[in-house]
């Protein structure tokens, strides 16, 4: 009846996950009860859960990412403590638990922190920057988000029901095959990624179509803000790379469930094929994450320097070059597999070539600052912190692309330090910069600067205190994923890294404090102009938070830096003041399709993991029925009457108008 599921699936003998799970469960229950008792459920349902508004969905993506960041961060803390104490001893985490933790840490941080964070920011900002009302496929957007949430839910379910993979975040076969990992861990891993992968693909298709086909009048390709370009590049990579992940995991699942032989040791399976396929997805994935971050830094550096982005054309060229070359370098992840000198050298050089456009980007940011009037508000701090940190990560990255150096550093703690250097220093700093920068746009008030700056400095210093020791440990021959070790020379560095982790944790606490304090002081921090940073692109041309229709009028773009252009122009001739004529606006209706679909996907995923076949069929039928019902609806849009548009637009129009007429006069 329940497949493989029985009481032994609950880890009654392991206090750590049990207590953690119980705390989370109590927390969720408490929140749910509070929501129901306070009567917020209808609000949540109508305004958020069923919302197809790109801004709301973006916010929910970011919320998901933030919660998962805490989960992944807890894993990181546990790992750093384990390695600090596990010298000539077993530490406090047995291998079967430690191995789950590092696998879950990697999986969660990439798929459920970094991905939803950048997708959330793109969702929130890109339609505003393009001057349009929504993304190309609003309901699918909601489906994509909820499927991502399903994946995250399944991963976290493994904490208390069964186990997570103990194979590392890429689940290399043959270790991940049924014969060496007979538990449900790898199944949790694979199914949650399959389901969230569909969500990511949908988001990718949606954003590519949005950027290519939905731009407001006059928004040529070469007038798009840089963030839109990097969004385009990143989502093109999603569309081209995620199907590879889907296919690869499907093959692994076929091996595990139906006895196929793609990657088994037996009957001619080929493990090297897995390595090639997974990295053919995995390397572009890195750029899927970091390209939007590059876009955020471009926006932030330009805004806070009070200048247009230096070398815009070069930046576009560099972005697209990275997009293409990132597909030609995957083999550098396994130079040490014996591919032969020619192949190694070619892929090594191809990997280095990516450093050229990346370097160009750094220099262009540098020259954007040159001759600027730089304001060191929190988003700018994250950006400068990024530039410094990322260059170090780039250096070690190019070093790892030199095959003979990689022959000694492959899979070492040096590698671990390198990719944290680029992912924390690049993606996470970018996400934080974007979060601070666009928070006022999303919620209508700024974040507290003092706590924000504290968060930056603790995170920045904590990063170096944590990861420089890991670089050194790598140079001392330490390899990754060691549950314990006997080498005395490694130990002091592991202790320093644990201290660094504590500093990083303080940084995270500061971030939380920042949000709490800002919400408390929201009236003082209120932004009525819609343009708190003296911004340059169209998202600042509407109120904060923007109305559901984003713009009362379709913006007409006449040059780059559309909103800046408008402000500069307004300085010279006063803006016409006769009341504009408002029109009816059609907007997509809310739809529970995404949520219902994810509900059935969760049931189906869980049932597949535990081999509960009747439930699989039920979930599958439910998902299909949801789509048919969705296809049968008669009204997919509703009309906001012109009066209503006028009422909403006039609420803050005076503040915004004043800002525009005064702009540039600084």
């Amino acid at each position: 009846m329940l497949g493989k599921l029985d009481w032994s699936a609950i880890p009654f003998d392991q206090p750590i996950p049990l207590i953690a799970g119980a705390v989370v469960l109590v927390g969720i229950l408490a929140v749910l009860i509070w929501v129901v008792v306070k009567g917020h459920l209808p609000y949540l349902w109508h305004e958020w859960i069923t919302s197809v508004d790109h801004k709301r969905i973006g916010v929910m993506y970011i919320l998901l990412a933030s919660v998962m960041l805490l989960r992944g961060g807890s894993d990181a803390i546990m790992m750093r403590i384990q390695q600090a104490v596990a010298y000539q001893s077993q530490g406090y985490l047995p291998p079967e638990h430690y191995n789950q933790i590092f696998s879950a840490h990697g999986t969660i941080m990439i798929f459920f922190v970094a991905m939803p964070f950048v997708i959330g920011l793109m969702n929130l900002v890109v339609p505003l920057q393009l001057g349009v009302r929504d993304v190309a496929f609003p309901t699918l957007n909601s489906v994509g988000f909820w499927l991502t949430a399903t994946g995250a839910l399944l991963v976290n379910l493994s904490l208390v029901i069964g186990e997570f993979a103990r194979t590392g975040w890429l689940a290399f076969p043959p270790l991940s095959e049924l014969s060496y990992s007979p538990g449900v861990g790898v199944d949790y891993y694979a199914w949650s990624l399959q389901i969230s992968g569909v969500g990511t693909l949908v988001a990718g298709i949606n954003l590519v179509t949005t950027v290519l086909k939905l731009r407001t009048k006059g928004m040529n390709y070469l007038r798009m803000p840089m963030f839109c370009w990097t969004t385009l590049a990143s989502n093109l990579l999603i569309v081209a790379a995620f199907p590879i992940l889907t296919a690869t995991l499907a093959m692994l699942l076929l091996d595990r469930y139906l006895g196929f032989h793609f990657f088994t040791n037996e009957a001619g399976g080929n493990v090297m094929m897995f390595m090639n396929l997974i990295w053919a997805w995995g390397h572009p994935e890195v750029y899927i994450l970091v390209l939007p971050a590059f876009g955020i830094f471009s926006e932030v550096v330009s805004t806070f320097s009070g200048k247009a982005l230096f070398g815009y054309r070069s930046m576009v060229l560099a972005t697209m070059a990275i997009c293409i070359i990132s597909f030609m370098v995957w083999l550098h992840h396994f130079f040490t597999m014996g591919a032969g000198p020619d192949v190694n050298a070619i892929f090594g050089i191809a990997s280095m070539i990516i450093a050229i456009p990346t370097g160009v980007k750094i220099y262009n940011w540098l020259f954007t600052m040159y001759g600027g009037r730089i304001r060191f508000e929190t988003p700018m701090l994250w950006s400068i912190g990024f530039m410094v940190t990322f260059i170090v990560g780039g250096l070690t990255g190019v070093l790892l692309a030199v095959p003979p150096a990689d022959f000694m550093l492959h899979n070492s703690m040096f590698l671990v330090a390198h990719f944290h250097n680029v992912i924390i220093g690049g993606v996470l700093f970018g996400a934080f910069a974007g979060f601070e920068y666009w928070f006022p746009k999303a919620f209508g008030f700024r974040l507290d600067e003092r706590w924000g700056k504290l968060a930056f400095w603790f995170t920045f210093l904590g990063f170096f205190i944590t990861f420089v020791p890991l670089y050194i440990a790598g140079m001392l021959g330490m390899t990754r994923r060691m549950q314990h070790y006997d080498v005395a020379a490694w130990r002091p560095w592991m202790i320093v890294a644990a201290v660094g982790m504590a500093v990083l944790t303080i940084g995270v606490i500061c971030q939380i404090m920042q949000i709490v304090v800002s919400i408390r002081n929201r009236e003082a921090l209120r932004d009525r102009t819609g343009d708190p940073w003296d911004g340059r692109s169209l998202e600042w041309a509407t109120s904060s938070p923007p109305p559901v229709f984003n713009f009362a009028f379709d913006p007409d773009v006449r040059g780059e830096d559309a909103y800046w252009d408008l402000k500069a122009h307004a300085k010279r001739q006063s803006l016409e003041h006769e009341p504009p004529e408002y029109h009816d606006i059609e907007m997509p209706r809310n739809s529970p399709t995404g949520f219902v679909c994810a509900f059935f996907a969760t049931i189906m995923g869980f049932a597949l993991i535990w081999h509960i076949w009747w439930m699989v069929i039920l979930g599958g039928l439910g998902a299909w029925a949801t789509f048919v019902v969705f296809a049968w609806r008669d009204h997919d849009e509703y009309v906001i009457p012109a009066d209503e548009v006028a009422r909403i637009d006039r609420v803050s129009i005076e503040d915004r108008r004043n800002l525009v007429s005064m702009a540039g006069s600084v």
Partner: protein, 213 residues
């Protein structure tokens, strides 16, 4: 605040880009939908290409089991191919019928397409069932693993297509040729033709090359 009112040129071209073509604004819904679906199809083809790649890598790994030449039946494959190619034609007819809003020809075209798709699926299913009953299931060797997954993946797509096709017919029956139904019909037609193209690949790589070697 009316933004259409402004025509700033002060910073209009700071990057020395020169004049660029004027952009007219967002594309109409029909274009957007088709464009998005094209992108989905491309990504689906990327997924197929992984299974093709796996087949290319594993096709020699027979683990002392049967080779392609020993199990492929060219006659069946020929019938399957004819079915699919014909169905692409009838699907095209149905699309044209939908465009001119002719119900009779639409239903007829879709029904024939469905019939041909089902014939294809039945032949494929029998081929698979026959192989499994002879002990040549996908667990027999890596070659058979790759063969079953590549051909089976295409078969699953065709099955999903048939399900979609029936849903489309029901939609036209219930809702008529509404704009959104027509957009869906266009996506369906794209999907069905794409499956044809993939089948040409399967036919060439698996069956033609397989029976040659």
């Amino acid at each position: 605040m009316s933004m259409t009112a402004t025509a700033g040129r002060a910073h209009a071209d700071p990057h020395h880009i020169g004049r660029t073509a004027e952009h007219e604004g967002p594309a109409p819904k029909r274009i957007v939908t088709a464009y998005g679906f094209w992108i989905f199809l491309l990504s689906d083809i990327v997924m197929f290409s992984c299974f093709f790649a796996a087949y290319a890598v594993l096709s020699g790994q027979t683990a002392d089991g049967p080779k392609g030449t020993e199990i492929f039946e060219p006659r069946n494959v020929a019938i399957e191919t004819v079915c699919l190619l014909l169905s692409s034609f009838t699907c095209g007819m149905a699309s044209i019928a939908a465009d001119v809003r002719n119900r009779f020809w639409f239903y007829l075209g879709m029904a024939v397409t469905c019939g041909l798709g089902l014939v294809f699926l039945i032949i494929e299913f029998r081929e698979f069932a026959d192989l499994v009953s002879r002990g040549y299931g996908p667990s027999r060797s890596a070659f058979l693993t790759a063969f079953f997954s590549l051909v089976g993946c295409h078969g699953l797509h065709v099955s999903a297509g048939v399900l979609w096709l029936l849903t489309m017919m029901a939609q036209v029956f219930a809702k008529g040729f509404r704009a959104d139904v027509l957009r869906r019909m266009m996506c369906f037609a794209l999907f069905w033709h794409a499956l044809d193209i993939v089948w040409v690949g399967v036919f060439s790589v698996v069956y033609l090359l397989g029976s040659g070697g």
